[in-house]
Symmetry: C2
Subunit: 613 residues, 2 copies
C-alpha cells in the first residue's frame, strides 16, 4: 500500500503553456479586479498550491478511500487527517483564493482559482468536496441573501469555521427536482419550519466544523407544483443567535451515509429535516419561489467544478501511467521481438503503450484547454465590466455554451482515461498499490451528479444551442472556422485541420437536423441523439484547441535552437493534436451520418421486448 | 446492503433462442459424444444450473466482495460460505458437466458447458475462478500427462478434493512470459527441484481443499532462453504418496495476496517455490521444453472463459438496469415534460433510458451469440470427428479466429456495459446497495488477464488473420457475405444489412492495409491499429449475428397471431439488430478510414514530449 502514498502528479510546464502561451492570461492580469495579479504572482501561487496539494492532501487520498466515513451515534466521522487538512487548506488560503478580498479572499482571476481547484481535487477528490460545496453555498448567500444573511452566515463559511451543502435531491425524485416534497411552513417570526428528507448530500455532516449550513430546496405551503414553486432556505445543523454563536441543535438528523464505489472520504448523507417538528430555516433573500434560479448559480459553478474534478483525476492518472511506462521494463523492442536474448526495454517503447499514452495526453490536455478557455471567458467578461457590452455578451454566451461540454465530456472521459491508465499499468493497475484504480472508482460519479450527462446533453441541444437566437453557437463555430481558414494550408497541421473542418461541418449539419426534429414535432428523436451530439461537439472543440496549441508550439519551435531542452515539450503538442485529429476528429462525420439515419428503434421496441424476465 | 443479495439475473428465453433457434443446437444433440443429450436434457440442465447459481453462488457475490480474502499465518482465508459453495458445486455436478463421463463428468456439449459457466460466473465471478482454473489445470494434465500423472493428479482435481492453478506470470516479466526466471533442476529420481517466484496466481491457495496443484512454467537448467526453453511442471502445495495421500508440505509459500479493485473473493497470490530448496515438481509428460504449447491449451480455454465471464456480468448488469428502469418512477413523459402535474412515469419510458437499455441489450446478446457460435463450432467439430476433414478444418479455423474477438471485445464491452448500467441507475448505481458498481470493478481485470487485450489484437492481426493462408478469415468474411446476399433486399432489415455490408468491406480493406504494412517493413504501424481493427471486426461479427437473429425472429413473427405473448420478445430481436447496425456498424467504415490515414504520431513523438515531469 505504501506505493500509493502521495501519488498526485501535475506537470506545471503544461499548465503554464495553456495559461500564458495559448490563452494569453497576461491580457487580463493587472486589469480591473485583477490589478494585484501579475504573471509572477500567478506562477508562484500555482506552484505553491500544487506543492500544498501534493504534500497535505495527497497523502490522505488512498487512506481516506480505505478508511471511508462512518456514522456513529448520529455523527459523521471523517477519515483520519481530514480535519487537519481542512484547517490547513483555509490557513494557507488556497480554498478562498478566488473570493473577493472583502470576503477574506485574494481576488484571483477565475482561471487561477480553477487551476488551484484542479490541484486540490487531483490530490484528493473526496476531500476537496467539503470545502468546494461550502464555498459554493456561501456564494449563493452572498449573491441572493439579505444584508443580514450575508453578514451572519457567509463569513464563517468562508473562513473554515462552518461547512455548507446543497440539498436538492430527494429519494423519490432524483433528477426530477421539481417533484421535491420537502415543505416549508411560515412561522410568525418570518422564518420557516422545514420538514422533509434529502439524499445524496455531499458533506452533509463532518467532524471538523462547528456547524453545517444547508441550502435546502423546499416548497412553501400553497406554492405551485414543479420547480417554479421551490424556494431556497438556509437551514443550519445547529441554531445560532444573532452573533452567530451556536445555541443548540436544529432538528437536522443524519439518517444514514451511503456506501459507495468511490469518493469514500466524502460523507454522502441522508438528511432528515424536522423529524421532531423543530427544524427552523430562513428564506434566502425576501421573495419566495426563487429557489431554482438561486440554486442554478451554485449548480452552474458545480458543473464547471465537475469538469475540473474530471481533468484533475484524468491528468494524474495519465502522469502516473507515464511514470510507470518509463520505469517498467518488460519485453524487447518490436524490431527484435523474435530474439529472446534481446535486451528488455521500458514499456514506453512499445507502440501500443505509446498509443495509449498519447491518447490520454491528448484528451487530458484538450479537456483542460476547454476548461481554461471557459475560465478565461469568465475573466475577460469580468475585466471588460460594462465597457463593451457586445464583447461581454460574446464571452458570457461562450460560458453558457461550454458548461455542458465541460461537465459531460470531461466526466465521461475521466472514467475512460482512468480505464486506459489501468490498461497501461497492466495487472498492477488493478491493484490498490497504485492510484489508477481509485481514479476510476472516484470518477464514476462525475457523469451522474450535478445533473446527469444526459441532462447536460439536453441542456445543450434543448437550450444552449438556441440561446440568444443561436448566436452563441454561431460564434463558437465561427471561431473554429476562423482558425481553419488561417491554418488550412499549414505545412505540418494542414491534414489535421482538414479533419477539423469536416468535423465542424458535421456539427453544424447535426444542429440543423436536431432543429428539424424539434420543429417537425419529432421531439422524442432529440434525446436519442443528444449524448452523441454533445460528444461530437466536444471532440470538435477539443480537437480545435489541441490544433491551436500545436500551431503555437510549432511557431515556437522555429525560434528554438536544435538542442534546446524544450523542443520535445513543443513537439509533444504537435503529436497530441495530430493524433487526436486522426484518431478522434476523423470519426466525427461518421457519428453525424449515424444520427442522420434517424433510427428510432429505442422508441419502437415494445417494453416487453427488452427481456422476458 | 440487503438489496444486494442474490441479484444475479438471467433470461433463459433469450438463451434458448440463441441455442436452438439461431444456432440450431439440436443438430449436434444425440450425435457422436453427445448421444445422451437431447433438447429436454439441455433445457433442464440450463434451468437447474441457473437456479443453483442464483440460490447458492449469488448470495455470496456481494459479501465475498466486501469480506475479501485474508492471509493469516501463511494461509489464505476465503470469504464466508465459499467452502460450502465449492462443495455444493461439485456435488450438484455443474462444475464438471462438460467433462467426459470417464473422468466423472456428464459429457455435455461445449455449448451447454459454456452456458453453465456463464450462469456460475454471472452469479459470482470471483468464486467461479477457483473451480474454473482447477478444471483447466486438470485438463492439461489429462491432455499431456503420462498415464501415471493422469491417474494420480487429475481425478482429485475433478471431484473437488483438490484445487489447481496456472503459474505463468513473474513480477519482472508480466506479459513477457518468455523471460521467466523460475528454474527447474533435475533430480536423480526423475523429478525436478523448482525454484522461483510467481505472481497474480488466481486461487493460489484456499481453505476448502486438501491440496492445490500448481502448473508451473519453469526453465530446466541449460534450456534455451525465451518461451522455447520453458517446461510445464506439476507442483503440488503438499507432497503426496503413490496413493495420492498428502504426506507433508512441498515448500510452496504464499508470500502475499493482492488487494484489488474487484474480484475480491478470489485469492490472487504471490507464490514462492523452493525458498527452502525443498520444492519438488514433476514434468508434465516426458519431454522437456514443451511448456508453452502445453500451457496454451489451458490459455486458449481461459481466453474463451474470459469472454464468458464478460457476457455473464454484462448480462446481469443489463437485466438489473432493466428491472430498475421498470420499477423506478421519476419525471413525466417527454410529451408532457413542461407540466409539473403530469403523472410520474417509470424511467423506462424516457427515450435516453430506452437507448441505454437497447444499447446494452444489443451488445450483451451479440457477444453471447459470438460465444455460442464459437462453442457450436467446437461441438460441430467434435460431432464430425474424422468424417469430413474439410468441414472440421472450417470449424476449427473459426474457433481460432474467434478466440481473440471473444476475449478482447467481450471484456472491453463488459466494462462499458457495466458503465452504462451504472448510468441507467443514476446515483443509485454508484452505491454498493446495488450490484452494478461491483460488476464494473470485477470486470476491469478481464481486459488484462489471460493475455491483455492488445496481446489478443496482435494475436488476431499477426497470427490468426493469416492462419491457413488466410483461409479462416476468408471463410469468416464469406459467411458474412452470404448472409448479406440473402438479406440485402429484406423489407425490414435491408437498410441495416447495407450497413453490415459496408462494415465487412471496411474490415476486408483493413486486412489488406495491415498486410501491406507487414510486407513493406512498416511493422510498428500494425500495433498502432491492431486494437481498433479487432474492435471493427468484432462489431461486424456481432452486427451480423444480431441481424441473423432478427431475420429468424421476423420469420417467426409472420407465424404468430397478433396477440401472441411472444411477439414482444421477437420484436426485441429486430430492435436490437437495427439499433446496433445504425449506432455501431455505421461507424465501422469511419474507423477503417481513420486507420487508412496512417498516422504515426505515437511513434514520432519524442519520449520527452509526453510531459516535462
Amino acid at each position: 500500500m505504501s506505493q500509493n502514498i502521495n501519488r498526485y502528479k501535475v506537470d506545471l510546464r503544461e499548465i503554464e503553456f495553456v495559461l500564458f502561451e495559448q490563452f494569453k492570461a497576461e491580457e487580463v492580469l493587472g486589469k480591473g479586479p485583477y490589478e494585484a495579479w501579475d504573471k509572477e504572482v500567478v506562477q508562484t501561487s500555482l506552484s505553491e498550491c500544487a506543492k500544498f496539494s501534493q504534500a497535505v492532501l495527497g497523502p490522505l487520498c488512498a487512506s481516506g478511500d480505505r478508511e471511508g466515513c462512518k456514522l456513529v451515534d448520529g455523527k459523521v466521522i471523517t477519515p483520519t487527517g481530514f480535519g487537519d487538512a481542512w484547517k490547513k487548506s483555509y490557513e494557507a488560503g488556497w480554498r478562498t483564493i478566488g473570493l473577493p478580498v472583502e470576503h477574506g479572499g485574494q481576488g484571483s482571476p477565475k482561471v487561477v482559482q480553477a487551476l488551484c481547484e484542479e490541484f486540490m481535487c487531483g490530490a484528493n477528490a473526496a476531500f476537496a468536496m467539503y470545502p468546494g460545496l461550502t464555498i459554493g453555498a456561501a456564494d449563493v448567500i452572498l449573491a441572493f441573501g439579505t444584508d443580514e444573511e450575508k453578514h451572519l452566515w457567509a463569513p464563517r463559511m468562508l473562513d473554515g469555521r462552518w461547512g455548507g451543502t446543497m440539498c436538492l435531491t430527494e429519494s423519490h425524485a432524483g433528477s426530477d427536482v421539481g417533484s421535491a416534497k420537502t415543505m416549508a411552513y411560515r412561522r410568525p417570526d418570518g422564518k420557516y419550519n422545514i420538514k422533509g428528507a434529502k439524499v445524496y448530500i455531499s458533506g452533509g455532516d463532518s467532524d471538523f466544523v462547528d456547524n453545517v449550513i444547508h441550502l435546502v430546496l423546499a416548497r412553501v405551503e400553497g406554492a405551485p407544483p414543479g420547480t417554479k414553486g421551490l424556494s431556497l432556505f438556509i437551514v443550519p445543523k445547529n441554531k445560532i443567535d444573532a452573533d452567530g454563536n451556536v445555541t443548540g441543535p436544529n432538528d437536522v438528523i443524519v439518517a444514514g451515509i451511503e456506501h459507495k464505489m468511490g469518493i469514500n472520504g466524502s460523507a454522502t448523507c441522508q438528511l432528515n429535516f424536522g423529524e421532531n417538528d423543530d427544524c427552523v430555516g430562513e428564506l434566502i433573500g425576501t421573495v419566495e419561489n426563487q429557489g431554482i434560479s438561486q440554486m442554478f448559480r451554485l449548480m452552474n459553478s458545480a458543473r464547471i467544478a465537475v469538469g475540473i474534478q474530471s481533468v484533475a483525476l484524468a491528468s494524474s492518472a495519465y502522469l502516473n501511467a507515464l511514470e510507470y511506462a518509463r520505469d517498467r521494463k518488460q519485453g524487447s523492442h518490436i524490431t527484435s521481438w523474435k530474439d529472446p536474448t534481446a535486451p528488455r526495454v521500458s514499456i514506453i517503447e512499445h507502440p501500443d503503450v505509446r498509443r495509449m499514452l498519447l491518447d490520454m495526453k491528448s484528451r487530458v490536455e484538450g479537456i483542460r484547454a476547454l476548461i481554461i478557455k471557459l475560465a478565461m471567458h469568465q475573466d475577460r467578461a469580468q475585466v471588460l465590466g460594462e465597457t463593451d457590452e457586445d464583447k461581454r455578451a460574446y464571452h458570457l454566451g461562450q460560458i453558457d455554451l461550454l458548461v455542458p461540454l465541460v461537465k459531460a465530456f470531461g466526466s465521461d472521459q475521466a472514467f475512460r482515461i482512468s480505464e486506459t491508465a489501468i490498461q497501461t499499468f497492466g495487472g498492477a493497475g488493478f491493484l490498490k498499490d497504485w492510484p489508477v484504480e481509485q481514479y476510476a472508482r472516484d470518477s464514476k460519479i462525475f457523469s451522474i451528479y450535478e445533473g446527469t450527462n444526459h441532462i447536460q446533453a439536453m441542456d445543450l441541444v434543448g437550450r444552449k444551442l438556441g440561446q440568444n437566437g443561436g448566436a452563441n453557437t454561431q460564434a463558437f463555430l465561427g471561431d473554429v472556422q476562423s482558425f481553419i481558414a488561417a491554418h488550412k494550408d499549414h505545412p505540418v497541421l494542414g491534414s489535421s485541420v482538414a479533419l477539423l473542418d469536416k468535423a465542424q461541418e458535421s456539427v453544424g449539419a447535426t444542429v440543423m437536423r436536431l432543429l428539424g426534429w424539434f420543429q417537425s414535432g419529432q421531439v422524442p428523436m432529440v434525446p436519442l441523439s443528444a449524448n452523441r451530439f454533445l460528444e461530437m461537439m466536444s471532440e470538435t472543440a477539443v480537437g480545435w484547441l489541441l490544433l491551436e496549441a500545436a500551431s503555437i508550439a510549432l511557431k515556437k519551435l522555429e525560434t528554438l535552437p536544435a538542442d534546446h531542452h524544450e523542443r520535445p515539450f513543443y513537439e509533444g503538442k504537435r503529436a497530441a493534436a495530430v493524433f487526436f485529429a486522426h484518431s478522434t476528429l476523423a470519426l466525427v462525420p461518421g457519428k453525424a451520418e449515424a444520427i442522420a439515419l434517424g433510427d428510432d428503434s429505442p422508441l419502437s421496441i415494445p417494453d416487453g421486448g427488452f427481456a422476458t424476465i
